[in-house]
């Protein structure tokens, strides 16, 4: 599923050869593979307005004659590539250089230098618009989980957060449209408040230190961004409908965009609704979801030098939590562990979401302006505000179920100014200042002492980064500093309750150095080293209280120090026999003062029974991992690909494993694409007919600590999935259809990283059907 995608064209050379009146324009061009720059033959080039078309030759070249000067669209399609439609205003003879990316470019690329030198040399993998649309039924974490080195920390099938190289929550920054996502990321059962369908493009950076971005992380970053609006004066868009058999879920997505001279707009909205999902053998009671999201995007070119964009997005959802997972104390948990089927399981399917459930609203408003001093020297100024409101409802007495047990309101303001210069050839310099203010409050209406305190945090920082890319070398370096003020107000658990204040100041540092060398086309080696510090978050300092889901009392420690991470990555990228791509990324990370929850010797007696106590403690940790990605194009139609992720982590003092690390996993896909179009009639045809079969093996986490857990980690499991997709052309409209069967054999399994594994099996078979119409 991870594959298939387009990428774009970018270069466009216009050569004026005099003005031609009437229909005498000649359009010539060349189509090449974006990665290898090799010419692509048999590319279909078609102009719907004039119904003219041609096919590229062995050199990738094409020519179309007798075109009238006009505004028109040109369509490029090729086997294995996603169709590209571009708008042109032709006034004279024109030459086009088109770059097409193979839709199934699984291989992960090291971006040596992208247009803004963002993550020079850091390892990144992009998930593009088409890929997201074709998996529109999935949440962000699931979508990313096919990338080598990325897995998901789940709380049932609906709640999931991404884990990159073993880092998640407070150790992984999510950037929503260039702004650090500001929500309640500390919670293991809190999904990121981002709809991938609204986001368009997602990029995972498996890095050593994030220089350019603010936010707490230890090197890895997930970037979520909307696509640029196409420069097309006509109304275009796409609409998609998705159906999931498991949970009887429906999803609808609509995207519209248009450019009006210098002003472009885009609107993207999605609505999703799903009911109780199904494990292989029984219904999972109260696991429905409701979601509605909208994003508005405006781009205005004020002058040659000034460009501004305004972005607003609103994310709203309600997620049911398995009823049988709501427990009181250890006895209840032990009882639940003994059961094959969770309590409250019935056969009656329902869309209704009852307690326990989560309700989240997240809004983002962002204004960004770019001012170009010259073509290769500019400044970006960004201002953004976010509002996050999270409510969690539990089963409570005397009508209090309607009152949230956790109710957090957070607002934040972000400002950034960046200066980028690419004045000299092969060099890129970037610097910036950033400022972020977060204000987090608990609603006292809950009638429960808050799990995390009210706080204000103010982060001010800046960075410098420099990249030098002569010939086959790429050298990147950067430093960053952040000053963090944290003002927290806690409520003690003594009687009477008292208010206690904490004021802290932190200095976070990050530095990164990367070198890569390309030994001719088939081999490239990159080496990165990065150092980064992270201050403890409020939950690690002040958490206090019973975490009902895991039947334990969690206590923060006000004396924690900052974590200090040193990470080393080595990437080897090679191409064998032209048809085999192979990449291996090895990493080693040493984290000093690694913060984790450690069980105390104390068993605390409460009126609800006795509970184990877990305290946030520090140790030193070492992580060693490897991501392998391989792809073999057997011929034009058949392709085999594989991603393997390996990871091991140890506490260097006790030599015990680190908790919640993904186990080793192997993901293999074989796909076949029918090389020709299938004509149904003159007007109707199917193209890009493709089928793929996927096998996923998740090993047992043998590196788990019995002390930290109530049961043994679940056994290893195998999952199979099958996907069928094609594009149906009906006159001028094209419709993408797909059928996707997950967990084909309806296997019963439990996953180590799913907290609900104590209570129930993971999802059973799911058949999704999707229809996407681009217009």
């Amino acid at each position: 599923m991870s594959n298939k995608l387009v990428y774009l064209i970018l270069l466009l050379f216009l050569a004026n050869r005099g003005y031609s009146q009437n229909c005498t324009i000649t359009l010539t061009g060349k189509v090449v593979d974006e990665h290898t720059q090799e010419p692509l033959d048999y590319v279909n080039i078609y102009i719907p307005e004039s119904e003219k078309g041609t096919v590229s030759d062995a050199n990738g070249s094409f020519e179309l004659n007798n075109i009238c000067p006009d505004e028109l669209h040109i369509r490029f399609s090729h086997i294995g590539c996603e169709m590209i439609t571009q708008f042109y205003h032709l006034t004279s003879d024109t030459f086009l250089l088109i770059e097409m990316e193979h839709s199934d470019h699984l291989i992960e690329e090291i971006t040596v230098k992208d247009e803004t030198n963002k993550k020079a040399n850091q390892h990144s993998r992009k998930i593009t618009v088409q890929e997201i649309k074709e998996n529109g039924q999935n949440n962000l974490a699931k979508l990313l989980s096919n990338v080598a080195g990325v897995s998901t920390l789940k709380n049932g099938s609906t709640i999931g957060k991404p884990i990159v190289h073993g880092m998640y929550g407070n150790r992984l920054t999510l950037l929503n449209n260039g702004v650090t996502q500001s929500g309640q990321q500390w919670g293991n059962d809190h999904s990121p408040e981002i709809d991938p369908l609204v986001a368009n493009e997602i990029e995972v950076i498996k890095g050593t230190a994030a220089i350019e971005y603010q936010g707490s992380n230890l090197g890895n970053i997930v970037l979520v961004k909307p696509a640029k609006i196409k420069k097309d004066p006509h109304l275009h868009g796409s609409t998609g409908y998705y159906f999931n058999s498991n949970g009887k879920g429906h999803g609808l997505n609509l995207q519209l965009q248009k450019t009006h001279h210098s002003l472009a707009w885009k609107i993207n909205t999605s609505v999703k609704r799903s009911g109780d999902t199904h494990a292989a053998e029984y219904l999972l009671k109260n696991t429905g979801t409701k979601e509605y999201n909208v994003a508005l995007q405006l781009e205005k070119q004020f002058s040659q030098k000034l460009f501004s964009e305004l972005f607003f997005s609103s994310f709203n959802n309600e997620l049911g939590v398995l009823r049988g997972s709501h427990i009181g104390n250890l006895t209840d948990l032990e009882e639940a562990l003994q059961r094959e089927i969770p309590f409250y399981t019935t056969d009656t399917f329902s869309y209704q979401i009852n307690a326990p459930f989560q309700q989240v609203h997240h809004h983002l408003l962002k204004l960004k302006s770019s001012y170009f001093f010259t073509d290769n020297q500019w400044t970006d100024i960004t201002l953004a505000g976010q509002v996050n409101n999270r409510k969690e409802f539990d089963v409570r007495r005397s009508g209090r179920t309607d009152i949230p047990a956790i109710s957090l309101f957070q607002y934040s303001g972000f400002g950034e100014i960046k200066y980028i210069s690419e004045k000299r050839k092969n060099t890129s310099f970037k610097s910036g200042l950033q400022f972020n203010y977060i204000n987090n409050s608990n609603d006292p209406q809950t009638g429960i002492l808050p799990l995390i305190p009210d706080y204000i945090s103010l982060t001010s920082g800046g960075f410098l980064s420099y990249a030098y890319t002569p010939n086959r070398w790429a050298i990147t370096s950067g430093v960053r500093y952040d000053n963090v003020l944290q003002n927290a107000v806690t409520i003690t658990n003594t009687t009477p309750r008292e208010i206690k204040r904490y004021n802290r100041v932190y200095h976070n540092m990050a530095a990164n150095l990367g070198v890569s060398y390309r030994f001719g086309l088939p081999l490239k080696i990159s080496q990165n080293i990065g150092y980064v510090t992270r201050n403890p978050e409020v939950n690690e300092f002040y958490a206090s209280g019973l975490h009902q889901g895991v039947s334990g009392i969690e206590e923060g420690d006000v004396n924690l120090n900052s974590e200090k991470s040193l990470k080393l990555t080595t990437t080897l990228n090679t191409q064998l026999l032209k048809s085999v791509d192979f990449e291996v990324l090895g990493y080693y990370q040493n984290i000093q003062d690694y913060i984790f929850l450690q069980p105390d010797d104390e068993i605390r007696l409460t009126i609800r029974g006795a509970f184990p106590v877990f305290t946030y403690t520090q140790t030193d940790a070492n992580l060693l991992g490897m991501d392998i990605t391989a792809r073999w194009d057997i011929n034009k139609s058949f392709e085999i690909s594989n991603t393997t992720s390996l990871l091991k982590g140890r506490d260097s003092h006790s030599n015990l494993p680190i908790i919640n690390l993904p186990s080793n996993r192997i993901n293999s896909t074989i796909s076949y694409e029918y090389p020709d179009d299938v004509m149904v009639s003159n007007q109707v045809k199917f193209s890009n007919i493709k089928t793929s079969f996927n096998h996923q093996y998740i090993s047992k986490q043998n590196e788990a600590v019995a002390l930290l857990d109530y049961v043994d980690p679940p056994d290893a499991y195998h999952l199979y999935s099958l996907k069928l997709s094609s594009t149906l052309h009906w006159g001028a409209t094209s419709t993408k259809v797909f059928v996707d069967i997950d967990n084909l054999l309806n296997t019963s399994y439990r996953d180590y990283l799913n907290r609900l594994r104590y209570f129930a099996d993971d999802l059973g078979r799911n058949v999704s059907v999707g229809v996407i119409v681009d217009f």
Binding site: G328, S398, P444, I456, I491, T495, R608
Partner: protein, 184 residues
Amino acid sequence: MRTLFAFLLLAGTVSFFTSCEKDDPEIPHEEELITTLNYTLTDPNGETVTLTFQDIDGDGGNSPTITNGTLSSNTTYSGSIELLNESEDPIEDLTSEIREEANDHQFFFTSSAGNITVAYDDTDDNGNPVGLETTLTTSDAGSGSLTVILRHEPEKSNYDVNTNDYSNVGGETDIEVVFPINVQ
């Protein structure tokens, strides 16, 4: 340079208006918190023994206090449970909350000593037992413990409600307290 200056000015303005000191939070009114369970046992002569579990500051903080009971052998007591929230002023009586939602609650009584049995004396709207009112019978002398459990939303249709066996009941435990008992 001008843009930089403008930015710093803006950042300065924002930080000036947004104070860095968080206001004092309103302390939540913990009206749902059960701090105290009193199990009052009255013998036929009107003599009472009260077993009390009290933890006024809730989870954490100070340890709870437990009052042991000494019962007479071969005696039938009528038992009555009272639940209080003593962290509030005035003290809240939460027993009525259980009585109003009797359909969704049940107490369970188990004893490690074989000399104590508890039978239900009250019912909910569906005729199922609740356990706020009980009859406790002692036999021979001996010592052991008595465990009182309150389950919220047990699946009353799924088990034999009249026994004190809670092993297949489901729901969540709101109360689980153990009283050392001496029967003499």
